[in-house]
Amino acid sequence: MVVRCEQVGKRFGAKLAVDGLDLAVEKGQCYGLLGPNGAGKTTALKMIYGVTPPSSGRVFVFDQDITTHTRAIRARLGVTLQENALIEVLSPVENLRVFGRYHLIPAAEIERRSEELLDFLDLRSHATLPVKALSGGFQRRLSIALSLMNGPELLILDEPTTGLDPAVRLALWSRVRELRRSGTTVLLTTHYMEEAERLCDALVVMDQGRVVARGAPRALIREILAVETLEIELPPGRHVAVLERLNGVRSLRSGTHLLLYAKDASALLESVRGGEPDAHLVAIRPTNLEDVFLALTGTKLEAGA
């Protein structure tokens, strides 16, 4: 087991940022912590890499207690912080060098790894420019390169793609997959449900410090909702009648729209139209984690039946 959290809690004054977190990340997995801002994801990560001590419970990384083996554990993992912490007047190459020294990597080895990482994260073209002259995407990639400097067995990414344009985001996802294929265990937080769905083998959904669901993305969708989503628009006041007739179908209401979840959305549409000819089809699409999250927490949308 690479990461194991046992009933981990963190209290800041009166606020419980993380409440009874249980987590088990296996070697080679890509594991996601999902949730809106303020759900406790970053705090959970900070307890895992040992910068924030838990108020209760225990954290094990590489089967060692993080509070007593902090330095040894951190020598084997890499962390990309939510906010880039780069030295802006230095170039990517110089930043890599400085960071390599934090890990006590010998100079020749630092040069070798830097070369590898410049290629892996496509930084070569801007390798000697000052960081402050680089775009957000470049800076983010450099941040990830820094966290790979020690060849980590566990890579922790705190919102790796927040604020990046879609092309950069997709490219970063492909790097994460390559890392995983080469044997790196990845633990990431995100509030992009699509990111989690595409990258993660397993995940927990957090809300207000608590885990509200856990499992593989597909399984979660199947168990909590259903694989397909039917989105329809109904005349005012008809929602209740439709839902009563469909008895047992999971749904979410959003203004005049109604989201219905089913194994076969087309068949469901037929049966809705049977009793409600005015129902207007908005979309039939695969159910995603966003739906699951909304169903679980009721955030943004009104929770349905």
């Binding site: 902090t70 006590l104 994260l121 996802w173 390559e178």
Partner: protein
Amino acid sequence: MSAPEAGSPAASAPEAGSPATSAPAVGRVTLPAAALGRPGRVSLYYALAVWKRNFAMYRRSWKLNILPNFFEPLLYLVSMGIGVGAYISQMGGTSYLEFLAPGLVAVAAMNGASFEVTYNAFVRLNFEKTYESMLTTPIQPEDVLAGEILWAITRSTLYGGAFLIVIAAWGLVPPLHALIALPLVPLAGFLFAAIGIAFALRIPTIELFSFYFTLFLTPLFLFSDVFFPLKERLDPVWFPVAEALPLLHPVRLMRHAFRAEAAPVLLWDLAYVLVLSGLLLFVARRVIRARLRG
């Protein structure tokens, strides 16, 4: 990274647009066994890693930094020592120039340490997130603190030491006596590194440093035996207050070293410097742990 990949679900089809580079190998760095140290204790290896970071940054701009810092005490020495000194036949048994020299060496050490642990440390802590980034590696808050203090001592030694050499070359102190005085430079640096970092770690905004410099360091500079023998101008009732001034002690140590004289009061000076520095570092360690672990 150029072209986006096709919208494929996790871990399937090869990605379009991904260049033919493979992920770097997972590989542990072999660490010296002693480097990991014990929890809650400073590891000298990692403290030096912090020191090296500051040194690398300093090397880039040392020419810009060293000139003003180096010339400041020299300007005081020339202006006061030669200018004002022309009207003073002697002070403390020597020429005014010779009276000023040891105090200004201590001041150079004080200033060399102070800038580093105040503005620079504050920016690294609060704006550049340098420490946050260090704490993703085996570096611990204790190592950060130790590295910063070591670096501030290094800078104070550079400035104070360079100034001491100039003074020795000038003939204001015999070379042998200058050698005795040399270890007092990092000692003075240590004291003001500890005072400065304890202040920097506790203040909420960077503007408060102007209080530190104008209302703390400047009065120390003016009233700590550097320009005149403080106690000759004071009613004995005020002596305990004078003895509380931090700069007074390095100055008195320095003055005695310049004359190669020993005196019992120097033990008190030494104790003051070491105990106050130790206490402040104890406080600073608690504060930096609290600040970085939040």
